[in-house]
Symmetry: C2
Subunit: 394 residues, 2 copies
Amino acid sequence: MTSIDVPDGSLFGLDNLPYGVFSPPGEERRVGVRVGDHVVDLAAALGDDVFARPTLNGFMAQGHRRWREVRDRVTALVSGSVPDAAVFPVSGVELHLPVTVGDYVDFYASEHHASNLGRLFRPDAEPLLPNWKHLPVGYHGRAGTVVVSGTDVVRPCGQRKAPDEIQPTFGESRRLDIEAELGFLVGSGSAQGSPVPVEQFPERVFGAVLVNDWSARDIQAWEYVPLGPFLGKSFATSVSPWVVPMDALRAARVSTPPQEPRPLPYLREADPWGLDIDLTVEWNGEIVSRPPYREMYWSPAQMLAHLTVNGAATRTGDLYASGTVSGPERSQCGAFIELTWGGREPIVVAGEERTFLRDGDEVALSATAPGAAGGRIGFGEVRTRIAPANHPGR
Amino acid sequence: MTSIDVPDGSLFGLDNLPYGVFSPPGEERRVGVRVGDHVVDLAAALGDDVFARPTLNGFMAQGHRRWREVRDRVTALVSGSVPDAAVFPVSGVELHLPVTVGDYVDFYASEHHASNLGRLFRPDAEPLLPNWKHLPVGYHGRAGTVVVSGTDVVRPCGQRKAPDEIQPTFGESRRLDIEAELGFLVGSGSAQGSPVPVEQFPERVFGAVLVNDWSARDIQAWEYVPLGPFLGKSFATSVSPWVVPMDALRAARVSTPPQEPRPLPYLREADPWGLDIDLTVEWNGEIVSRPPYREMYWSPAQMLAHLTVNGAATRTGDLYASGTVSGPERSQCGAFIELTWGGREPIVVAGEERTFLRDGDEVALSATAPGAAGGRIGFGEVRTRIAPANHPGR
């Protein structure tokens, strides 16, 4: 038996306990919980086969009472002694995509980001469109290209047309960008024809991950009217390997910014709450932005209520992301298109003037939040290297 | 042993042989092939467990050589005698959603439809946007709400704002519409970072289904800027239970309309081919439109090449639909918003003036194409009843 040591100041103390899927070298994938710098193999520690699977979906589908019960059992377990065979150093295992994603929806819930993008994409119009303060604007992304941190992203090719060009051309994206976001994973699905009211959020949503919603701005700008972003986004979306349970984020709850005009009844919460999560964007080892999640206009519960108000079903593993997290300051923006104002105002990264991503660049998103024990809890990171395009001349 | 009788003029002769998933009363789902008015249980007839599963995905993932081999075996089998226990009258079985859908993409490949919608949604602008003739415009829909023919569609609720209203209101959609489309099912998936060239279409695409992409026009009109349709579409998409193999559609190949300007190289086919499929839209038993698929501007292979040119992976079960099939004539339009010109020019259905759908209405899409034997082959139908909204007052 082992007593797991949690280093002082660890972001993975007993008030966090995020779930992930890992494999020791040469072995099968299974579900684990991170504690300090270790991973606890839950199938081995709890003797429950639902954790011997290669994704979290089976456990997530068991519902919120079961999530609470397992969290209590894991807390008791790792506070005492854990069987040696169930404990692995996190540095010695491989981390995998934690869920099979059902549908992937991306919202647009930061007023600062939506206003910035409006100014950049539609310079002659009002930055916020008329619907923005009435509903959480969102759209469906590609679930089949969600990948885990550590997976290289290949620079996409596609059609691009700059405003001063007469014809579109084909080639590699010249404006490859990030979007730093928070994503929510549905645990208990809901039936077709049955909207999920805002107050049902705790029963439905299992946990949160960090999301990097890669965006090829030149492809997106040419294709996105009238049906929205498609190939400018669908090549890859990266997520963190650790799913932070919503219960671990209770201490991070804060009120959303004031919502004016008052939302329609189906979007009203007694006390709409967001999350006091500090994100960090690191570009080639240098911190270039610190997006504050607490600035997000629409709450996680409002996004889910909106997503289902038309009767759309949800399934275990559905992922909905917040959209880019941007604060009011330039240094709080979660996308390079905002940080560099459309590429017109480069920033200095590691001594070089930079706008969009180059091949070989590495981006790491990370995030922390207040934990229940008075310190902070972490999301781990989404770290990605940009690989060169495969078929640039095609 | 039974010799299956195919009635004269049947749309399900030996040159069709579509696949589906069925269950006899009280029994498990399994894969079958339709022949005349019968279904042949393939697990029972061929003794292969891949057909004993509740979806076609396992078989579809086996690849195009295997699809050809099974089609040859089934043709030989049903030309002779089939074990009695493997044959069921189609009227005595239940038909199910034939595949687990991976990602669902909806294109917008009819020039007539895109021009009509442009005139209706953006009356003060050019109907076709600048990108339309350069790329197949498309977007991701909700895979988790794809349902099979026979499943009621519950009228969605949501936010709507007519142009003359100051504030949006919440309630049931007042402009519930259909979109008659053809959908293509990916059999052999492709890896992330590996585009699928146009010439690889036959190796990748297993077959085609009819699709009704339900659309709440009032919800859609208010929400769709700038990220595209979301709740106006995500409540339901209905498909036919029979998947017509692409091999059965060889005799239906026709050239696409001329493509001018010439597409970029990745979209060029030696001889771009569409399909000479006649769709029929029946509203409460009366035929109200006959959309011709041969009018579609972008070919099925071009849509798949575009969808993947940025390196997006595809998976077995991915569904991509053509977008509404509309011909040049009003009576060839595949959506009621076009047939009734935005609801301003009602049509007479069963003696009544009608614009959009009422509760209790029934819509049936069907389609036929030339078959290899000189007659016609059928897709079966997508038949749906509109059920009243669940929470109209919320």
